[in-house]
Amino acid sequence: MDYYSLAFILIAIAFFAGLIGSLTGLGGGIVIVPALTLILHIPMRYAVATSLISVIGTSSGAAAAYVKEGYTNMEIGMFLQIMTTLGAILGAVVIIWFELSVDILGIVFGLVLLITAVLTAQKKSDHLFTIDKDSLSYKLQLHGTYPLDGNKVTYGSANPITGSLVMCIAGFLSGLLGVGGGVFKVLAMDNIMRLPFKVSTTTSNFMIGVTAVSSAIIYFAGGYVIPYITAPVLIGIILGSYIGARILKHINVALLKNIFAILVSIIALYMIYNGYSGNFDTRHE
């Protein structure tokens, strides 16, 4: 394959990942890794490293808008980042230092995709947890306000320790698989910490960049970031997510999420099949 073809395919894949990621709120990592490994046969660790950098791109782009609009809770994000960054470093160390089999990695990736598909298709209920001034959450300043119909809605939070532990798992999966882990972060903030859904999704997005950086640095220093692969992916994913954010209001997002959940499930089963059959090892190692 010549570089023209490779770069155009990479930009096209990343553009699609960025577009779908920003429309569904899932980021692009869950598309990038399967596409790079299964379509272009790029070795898994290089694909994970590329995906992590692209995840930083989509997360930073979207976070810039959400922070400005006042939805993101930076204190909650910063507090939970302690555990997500620790988990992400652990994930990168496991895949690079302990040379985890890429077949196992493929199977784990497939399983995580399946969970993501199920969680994406589920209907979310919103809730508002009132501030309890005696709680640990209050002492940790894990409360705030967000804009709604021209007013400011005040909210509190619950279970910061349990939430942090789930965040550590989300970070671990991010470092291990090159995904943002947003679905698991939202799960922790929405279901465990009882944060409003809009605050959960925007704060999760805000955290994804720093979480991804803490493991991406290890891949970067280890020589797994290849500029002539990563640069076209970054170009495509930034453009895709930028355009996705602009056409969001004209799209039936609920329908798109269900279609995407089915697509992700098919990719997941294909990843599991390839991992189980040992296809990743024989092709890439």
Binding site: M1, D2, Y3, Y4, L6, A7, H41, I42, P43, I53, I56, G57, S60, G61, A63, A64, A65, V67, K68, T72, M74, E75, M78, F79, Q81, I82, T85, L86, A88, I89, A92, V93, I96, W97, Q141, G209, V210, A212, V213, S214, S215, A216, I217, I218, Y219, F220, A221, G222, G223, V225, I226, P227, Y228, T230, A231, P232, L234, I235, I238, L239
Partner: protein
């Protein structure tokens, strides 16, 4: 400046940093990729072995490469800017919490910076 004003100022600084970082990285990556197009025009690319790529990142190679308009190093600079962008926002947050006198979040942000520093150290020792 009051607490609310400082919070809004932090939100503005962080939002601007993220936006600038992303677009700066985008344009530099685009420049690098266009130069890569020209350099690798007719050459087949072996994605199994990644020829012509230095095995590990080196700051002096990056600097020398940029001065020579080396396509790979320019693309690498774009990637590096993307990596640095979220780190900058953590550092700006630390500065703003310090200015606000919010010692709890100075401590929490400091812990996050220490953890990221550990990842840099782990990357360099392996």
């Amino acid at each position: 400046m009051n607490g609310k004003g400082e919070k809004e100022s932090l939100e503005y600084i962080i939002s601007t940093t993220l936006r600038l970082g992303v677009w700066c990285s985008f344009w530099i990556c685009l420049t690098g990729t266009v130069l890569l197009f020209l350099n690798y025009r007719d050459k087949p690319v072996d994605i199994y072995h990644f020829q012509d790529i230095p095995p590990k990142f080196n700051l002096s190679d990056l600097w020398t490469g940029i001065l020579k308009s080396d396509a790979v190093q320019i693309a690498m600079l774009g990637v590096l800017i993307m990596l640095i962008t979220p780190l900058l926002r953590v550092i700006f947050a630390l500065y703003t919490y310090k200015k606000q006198g919010n010692n709890l979040y100075v401590l929490i942000t400091g812990i996050v910076i220490i953890i990221i520093s550990i990842s840099i150290w782990l990357g360099t020792i392996h």
